[in-house]
């Protein structure tokens, strides 16, 4: 079956938990394992937090999250209209951060890549950033 939802919310940190809970509730239909849904929650938290901290620099803005699924294939897209990323490849390297003074560890993209099957980033300076993440549920049958 196919399904889709779209969330739009203020770029404030209190919405980080809202976003990950809403996304996990939407995918609950697919009967993901606890581990799979926790993976998605972490990845969503990373992308949304990045939009708030880096994209908007904790200033006002709007974050849009859309989720779709087609059978067991899920997709999450997180969009902001913030400052954008000049060098996407570099920013995705583990430990790379432009905000070390805020004790950021540069692990956000590494987590998204570790916990989702596919991550792609489109961004343009001063225009914004779009992170697309895909995961197929029920691939691993480890926990029975």
């Amino acid at each position: 079956m196919e399904n889709r939802m779209r969330l739009e919310f203020d770029a404030v940190s209190v919405n980080e938990s809202f976003a990950r809970v809403a996304v996990s509730a939407f995918f609950a239909q697919l009967n993901p394992t606890v581990d799979e849904i926790e993976d998605v929650k972490t990845a969503v938290s990373e992308a949304v937090t990045n939009s708030i901290i880096h994209g908007y620099g904790e200033k006002e803005g709007t974050v849009v999250v859309t989720c779709t699924y087609h059978d067991k294939d899920s997709e999450v897209v997180v969009i902001d209209e913030g400052v954008g990323i000049a060098d996407i490849e570099k920013s995705m390297e583990p430990f790379f951060t432009t905000k070390p003074e805020l004790e950021r560890s540069g692990m956000g993209f590494a987590f998204m890549e570790a916990f989702m099957d596919e991550v792609s980033v489109e961004s343009e300076p001063l225009k914004g950033t779009k992170v697309t993440m895909k995961k197929r549920f029920g691939e691993r049958k480890l926990e029975e």
Binding site: R20, T42, T49, S105, M107
Partner: protein
């Protein structure tokens, strides 16, 4: 947020929150630093028994505290990690920086931060 701490035998045991993300990171960091400052301990223990969620914001908080605490010659460990938090420790490599301990005595004088 109300952070719980115990000081016992030169150990500061910090009870970590249920969800550790960017939203709570600043307050958590300030709380822990304040407790470290007033307790004069040599061993810092992060107790994750209540923690169900942690993302990279938590990694930042832990690495920062570790670094500051290490400078003053103290040692750090983490206890009571559920499978999820353990996975976050493993994937991030944090487990190489903060040893994951096993059982930890939970009795002792309780000090509540705010």
């Amino acid at each position: 947020m109300r952070q719980s701490y115990q000081c016992k035998n030169g150990q500061l045991i910090v009870e970590m929150p249920k969800e550790i993300d960017h939203h709570c990171a600043k307050e958590l960091r300030e709380d822990i630093d304040r407790m470290i400052e007033i307790s004069h301990v040599r061993v810092l223990v992060f107790d994750f028994s209540q923690t169900e969620f942690m993302d990279s914001s938590g990694i930042g908080v832990l690495i920062g505290r570790c670094r500051n605490f290490g400078y003053s010659g103290g040692s750090v460990q983490a206890v009571h990690l559920n499978d999820r938090v353990k996975k976050i420790f493993m994937v991030s490599g944090l487990s190489k920086l903060i040893p994951i301990g096993t059982e930890q005595e939970r009795a002792g004088g309780r000090v509540d931060g705010e």
